[in-house]
Symmetry: C2
Subunit: 341 residues, 2 copies
DNA sequence: GTGAAAGCGCTAACAG
DNA sequence: CTGTTAGCGCTTTCAC
């Protein structure tokens, strides 16, 4: 009961050769239908399980794709993962998740780890402070395909799947303008990341389109965590000329800021309108409910995984569609509704 | 550049035997210091990377532990994972995470998957609707150690690490009683899980200790999601005799209920005091801030992982300490503070 | 259709 | 201290 069953055991039991067992198990079409059945039955009955290592060592393939995530704690990310998992398992691939907790060191370590595990391909989203792609070079060297999703390198030779962050930033900002805001603050994250840089550009473009000057002091680059939310709220309270609208690129941070301001007598949306980002559950629970930008995480995962698998199976048009950009949706709730309909 | 470097290549280059290379690479102490250095240098220079499969197939060990999580989306869970990761990597183990999204089918599939991947040991927390442990039997049969954490089987032959849910339930309820509540509602999850059953028992015991009768209609078994929160809040609104305190075993659901009630004119904590569970970030953002029960996720992860590794290394006292229970802390915020100090 | 045999990269006796 | 040798379980020519 302790010993593993191997194809040799099945071969012995059936008076066949290991080669035939192997062929039958792998659905080779040159084995007689009757034999195949017999083998499959025996395998089942004897409790046979492939030894993936032995298989991998021979084939050089692992049928596994690695997924590097920068953070697990978000709704968006779990949706993306769900999408990846779906497509992967539909195509017979396993996935192994490595999460870097927004930490570059960990990301580097994880990437090497996945490389050593010999994943067939890699899907990755960058940690907050990842600035170079040296650690992905091993994959390039061995010609193991890598596709980035969500947080990608601004200008890199890799394929990637992203949200249209520019458009998202533009629409969120324009929405605030349409609600009558003129002094719009933008609270965002590290703009060396495409994600935040593009949203910022969208914000600027929307202001420009409506002839509102961009003011440097209204653009706040922060860590987007709880402390940052409180700190920024405090700064707003101290401003002589407060903003009348704030676009924060993260719901959690937006919620913190908003609560803090409300607690200090600011009326939302009347004094200051708010728009967040992500459609996190928190946006529906907080009062006033937070307007936000939603994007299709599950589909992003599905698309990224499908492209990787296509490439693995040699059907890749990587060169033809190396950048895929997905469209966001603005969700308007009370926090930004100054005008009643 | 495309070909993998093997220990044979190094052996050839250095005019040594593969065995010596292997020994040097694995830090065996019977190899001469000078040779070891030479080998390590060469390996580095030639770009050698172990082939984990070849290694695993020989040793029968993968130096990998599988982690089954019922849900990733919580703060608590990511803390647990961080703890597991820390201990694992300190001991030279990799971890592979499989998440079941509260879905039994997926859990079953993940467990088999990890089994096939030949993890050396398993840490698992059960999905919402997992009721039997048939899928873990393969591990038992092959004597691969499994330790459950957080969500465990109420009465099972496995070791586990849990929160003292009874105590948590007791303290949360007693706190409400001390604040003057007498009609205390308990909103919780599936009580076939230890987690919820024990909290319920704690709730009942606290009521009993204060001579408050337990009323069946005040105990609500729900799914603890958003819809459940709204539905329960609606039911409360329709009650002739409303509760004056509610203990919800999940912060998110508590927040939803609370918001909904407040929106319908209920004053929190004056009319109804609230206590949640988990110390989720949301508990600090919502107004009034939510009292809650916090527990040490990171330590739970560390302890679970350490115990598993001890067992793997034959230092296990599994029989002696098969159940480890961790102590929760009640965090009092505005949502339950009826009495001012 | 099936079998025999070689070998993937590595480790673990057993010698020396 | 180092080398020789024999597999681990599987796939894959090449024969039959």
């Amino acid at each position: 009961m302790d010993k593993e069953i191997t194809i040799y055991d099945i071969a012995d039991a059936l008076k066949l050769s290991p080669a035939t067992i192997s062929r039958a198990l792998n659905g080779s079409d040159i084995v007689k239908e009757k034999t195949r059945k017999k083998v499959l039955d025996a395998a089942e009955k004897m409790g046979y399980r492939v030894n993936a290592f032995a298989k991998n060592i021979r084939t050089g393939k692992t049928k596994t794709i690695g997924v590097v995530v920068h953070e697990l704690r978000s709704n968006f990310m779990t949706s993306v993962l769900a999408g990846i998992e779906k497509v992967a398992s539909d195509n017979g691939y396993d996935i192994v998740i490595a999460h870097s907790s927004e930490n570059k060191e960990k990301e580097v370590q994880n990437v090497f780890n996945l490389f050593n595990k010999r994943v067939d391909g890699l899907l990755a989203s960058l940690a907050f402070d990842t600035a170079d792609w040296n650690h992905y070079k091993v994959f390039v060297d061995k010609k193991v395909p890598v596709i980035f999703y969500d947080r990608v390198f601004p200008r890199s030779p890799f394929s990637n799947v992203t949200l249209d962050n520019f458009k998202a930033g533009y629409e969120a900002t324009e929405h605030l303008i349409e609600q009558g805001c003129r002094r719009i603050m933008h609270v965002t994250g590290d703009i060396s990341k495409n994600v935040y840089l593009d949203r910022l550009d969208g914000y600027k473009a929307a202001l420009a389109a409506h002839d509102i000057p961009v003011q440097k002091e209204m653009i706040r680059v922060t860590t987007l965590n709880e402390e940052a939310g409180i700190a920024e709220a405090d700064k707003v309270l101290k401003m002589k000329a407060r903003p009348d609208g704030i676009f924060v690129t993260n719901d959690f941070c937006a919620a913190v800021m908003m609560s803090h301001l409300v607690e200090h007598g600011v009326k939302v949306p009347q004094d200051i309108a708010f728009v967040g980002f992500n459609d996190d559950p928190i946006s529906k629970i907080i009062r006033p409910k937070l307007s936000t930008v939603k994007y299709p995480g599950q589909q992003m995962g599905e698309i990224a995984a499908q492209r990787l698998i296509n490439e693995l199976q040699g059907q890749g048009n990587a060169a033809l569609e190396s950048q895929i950009v997905m469209r966001p949706t603005l969700i308007v709730r009370q926090s930004s509704t100054k005008k009643k309909n």
